[in-house]
């Protein structure tokens, strides 16, 4: 492996679907059906059906409190970590129900990675250790840990910026670099799907642009779901866009259609900035 900076490398081997017992295939789609979610008494999702096609970027837009984040948190079962929160319905990854009996929740989360709104590198760990954290925290034995870390850093375009200081704390990086570090940490465990919950809302425009370019490259290999407040961002990165309002899906169509030929009047009012 050469140590030069370059475009993200495509790994040769087929994605390892053994984690979930998913049969091998080229892409990994997520299907959400009749999903209801609650925070205590609050009914956050009122029966959601969305198909997230493989190797595509799907954006979820909608005003605050419409349930966008709850949808992605239900997909990798992070929703249930909040005290009092519960979900009903089904979420399937290539046909396998992630809420099924006997499914290990940690395997679900390894298969469906997540990037958060605020960059959250581990403050006690170096840049290298942050990327390696996913492997170490899941107890994954890796013979080529260094290579995987380096490859992940190259994939997010951070290698050139950090290669000389892999031992320094991850929190010493700029906000945009930290977010790309977090993406590197997520892809180091080679998930099937990447969920991004407003990944750029804490970043400046240049850092945002870099992350968006990265998303564009990542979709070759991953299925990506991105929640965003920024409609221009959805228009730039997403193949299809879901518009949500008050815990329901109002419209799901190609991004172009949602922004230029919305079928629902509420969608039109939202994308034209009349409310939200």
């Amino acid at each position: 492996m050469t140590a030069t900076e370059g475009p993200p490398e495509q790994t040769e081997e087929a994605p390892d679907l053994s984690l979930l017992g998913v049969k091998e295939g080229t892409g990994h789609s997520v299907k959400v059906q009749a999903l209801q979610a609650y925070y205590g008494q609050q009914h956050a999702l009122r029966g959601i059906d969305i198909d997230f096609p493989a190797n595509e970027v799907t954006a979820i837009i909608g005003p605050s409190g419409s349930g966008k984040s709850t949808v992605v948190r239900c997909i990798n079962r992070m929703h249930e970590e909040i005290p009092g929160a519960r979900a009903e319905g089904s979420v399937t990854l290539d046909g396998v129900d992630v809420y099924g009996d006997g499914v290990d929740v940690t395997a679900v989360r390894r298969a469906i990675g997540m990037v958060f709104q605020k960059p959250n590198p581990f403050p006690t760990m170096s840049i290298f250790d942050n990327v390696a954290a996913g492997l170490r925290l899941t107890g994954t034995k890796s013979d080529n840990l260094r290579e995987r870390v380096h490859r992940s850093l190259r994939a997010v375009g951070l290698w050139g910026e950090v290669k000389g200081r892999l031992g320094e704390p991850g929190t010493g990086l700029s906000g945009g670099q930290q977010q790309r570090l977090c993406i590197a940490r997520t892809i180091a465990i080679e998930p099937e799907v990447i969920l991004m919950d407003e990944p750029c809302s804490a970043l400046d425009p240049i850092a945002t642009l870099k992350v968006e370019e990265l998303i564009d490259e990542l979709k070759e290999r991953y299925t990506i779901v991105i929640v965003t407040h920024n409609m221009q961002q959805a228009a730039r990165v997403a193949n299809s866009t879901v518009f949500m309002l008050d815990g329901e899906v109002i419209e799901h169509a190609t991004t172009n259609d949602v922004f230029t030929r919305p079928k629902d009047e509420r969608t039109e009012r939202y994308v034209t900035g009349k409310f939200g």
């Binding site: 992070m78 940690t106 958060f116 605020k118 959250n120 581990f122 403050p123 925290l137 899941t138």
Partner: protein, 291 residues
Amino acid sequence: MSAPALPAISARRRRTDKVMRALLLGGTGIALVPLILIIYYLLHKGLSAWTSSGFFTTDPNGNFFGSPGGIRSAIFGTLEIVALASLIAIPIGIGVALYLTEYGRDSAFANVVRYLIDVMTGVPSIVFGLFIYIVLVVAKVGGSSFAGWKGSLALALLMLPIVVRAAEVVLLLVPDSLREAALALGAPRWRVVSRVVLPTAAPGLVTGSLLAVARGMGETAPLLFTVSVAFGLSWNLNGVMNSLPAQIYGDITNPRSVVVTRAWGAALTLVALILILNVVARLIARRSRVS
């Protein structure tokens, strides 16, 4: 345009300000008097004991004439008893705090535990000594009546709620975003706790534990009932031992002035040990990654 009229501060407000400032300053001064006197007497009387020959290198000998001996056995006794107490109280205390923050959260059981811990914080130290006296000393558990390890247990009971409370506060300071980041990577909860939460909170946990150790070190009452008082240097935690608080307690009522002076020297030593622990705790706290 003329300048707006800005009236001067009224004489009444000036007066009130002066009086209040004087009152507060006076109050602070009064509070400082006993503090300064304690430090003065400790240094004045204690330092002369420190400089007497063999103060740190000999044990008390109980002789009625001549040199009464030093406090070596008391220093080592205190260190041994407190070390064992810390070995018991700190891991259990941090374990309880981990349960409360990572697993119990707001469950009814966790709240009952919190309440009991608070009650335990308020229990007078002599009660812990009495408890150990009844269940371990009188019953001669372990073949001995008074024993160092029984004193350690009494101190551990006293330190436990302090460690739990301090550790819980520090663990709550670890941002939930870090726990979520680790969980979202597919980490099982025990690894989230051991690899992310504990390392992040480590400096604060050390600080809280050291403050509990400092608190336990100065306690006299739990030791009098459980370890008793001895003269000689002992490494046997299953027998009677000397300790600094017990030495001070015994010496200060002695009619011989050299022995009373030794009590001052022992007191200064104890304060110095606790001061060192506090300084170390503060230095570690400064390195804390969560604030």
